[in-house]
């Protein structure tokens, strides 16, 4: 994938390499299956369109995640009008009771549902950071995509690690 590639080629490669990650991203932003399909389609269309103005000033990965998260954040803001559940920040989520039920924690499906539920309650920017962390992006990449300073991203990742460790009773492996 290079700047010289055509928009169609860029899109084709982006969908092949990042298709699964975009699917996970859509899932984190929309719980309803039908709306999620629409959102995912909207992200793909936005990406395809955006490649006509891709100039290589940032990496393709940054570009793809920026477009995807921005389309998804816009979707969340639109849906917020019709849904009653308030979105919270990482700080408020830290006050949730610990996930200390070991039997439940052992249940992988239940653990995943809890993780997804936790992510879907977050405000878009915090949701963006936690998703990027879960996708394995480093602080520099997250900073470039979100526009948050490196220090700010580091603080948020520290909070996310603590929150996940407390909620899932599992220590960090790195």
């Amino acid at each position: 994938m290079t700047v010289d590639s055509t928009p169609d080629e860029l899109y084709h490669d982006a969908a092949r390499v990042y298709g699964a990650a975009l699917g996970r991203l859509a899932r984190a932003y929309e719980a309803d299956a039908d709306l999620r399909r629409d959102l995912l389609q909207e992200i793909h269309i936005a990406l395809w369109r955006s490649f006509s103005s891709f100039d290589g000033r940032c990496s393709l990965r940054t570009w793809i995640y920026r477009v995807a998260h921005n389309v998804a954040a816009s979707h969340v803001l639109e849906q917020r009008r019709t849904r009653s559940q308030a979105l919270v920040g990482l700080e408020e989520l830290e006050n949730l009771p610990d996930g200390n039920n070991t039997q439940q924690a052992a249940d992988r499906r239940h653990a995943f549902d809890r993780l997804l539920n936790m992510i879907q309650r977050l405000k878009p920017l915090d949701r963006h950071v936690i998703l990027s962390y879960l996708e394995g992006h480093d602080a520099a990449a997250i900073s470039e995509i979100t526009g948050l300073s490196l220090g700010n991203v580091a603080v948020k990742i520290h909070r996310i690690k603590n929150l996940l460790a407390r909620q899932f009773q599992q220590g960090e492996t790195r």
Binding site: D8, Q41, E42, H44, S50, F54, F112, F168
Partner: protein, 194 residues
Amino acid sequence: MTNQLRNPVQKLWQDQPVEGITMSAEIIRKRAARFERKILWRNVREYVAALIAAVTLGYFLVTARDVFARVTFGLLIAGLAWMVVQLHRKGSVRSMPTGVSTLTSLQFYRTELERQREAVNSVWSWYLAPLIPGLLVYSVWSAIRSPRPAAWLGLALMNAVIAGMFYVVWKMNVRAARCLERMIDELKAAENSY
């Protein structure tokens, strides 16, 4: 990131089965066109609803016998037209948000919130105020046409109910604007922090 470096929660997240989609360039062109048509129809539905209201008011305007009634319906139609124009200008039904690829998430999110705040803050001028002249003329016309205390009392009650509804809409928007303002301030603080 390799599997060895993933912590269990990252592994849990990345290993989930996903319903990804793959589309050829040809298919995505068709889907994009279909998406545009969907947005177009959504816009058309809004305009058709306004047109039906305008035609109904227009019928009353044409068939009204006195000048006050005609002025009332004329002003209500003008107010409706103003609301539709503002709705269109504010882009409440847009095909795709601008800046999705050029702005960072922080800038994009703040811009979207500011756009919403602007719409909410100005609701008085584009959503409520355009109807007031027509309603005022209607009240004066009704008061002159039926100069009886009972009729005036009914008119006063009707105006009080309308004023109450306007107040509730305005108050809800003030609250929404405050909430948006707090979120924007949080984002500005995040933008300025190091």
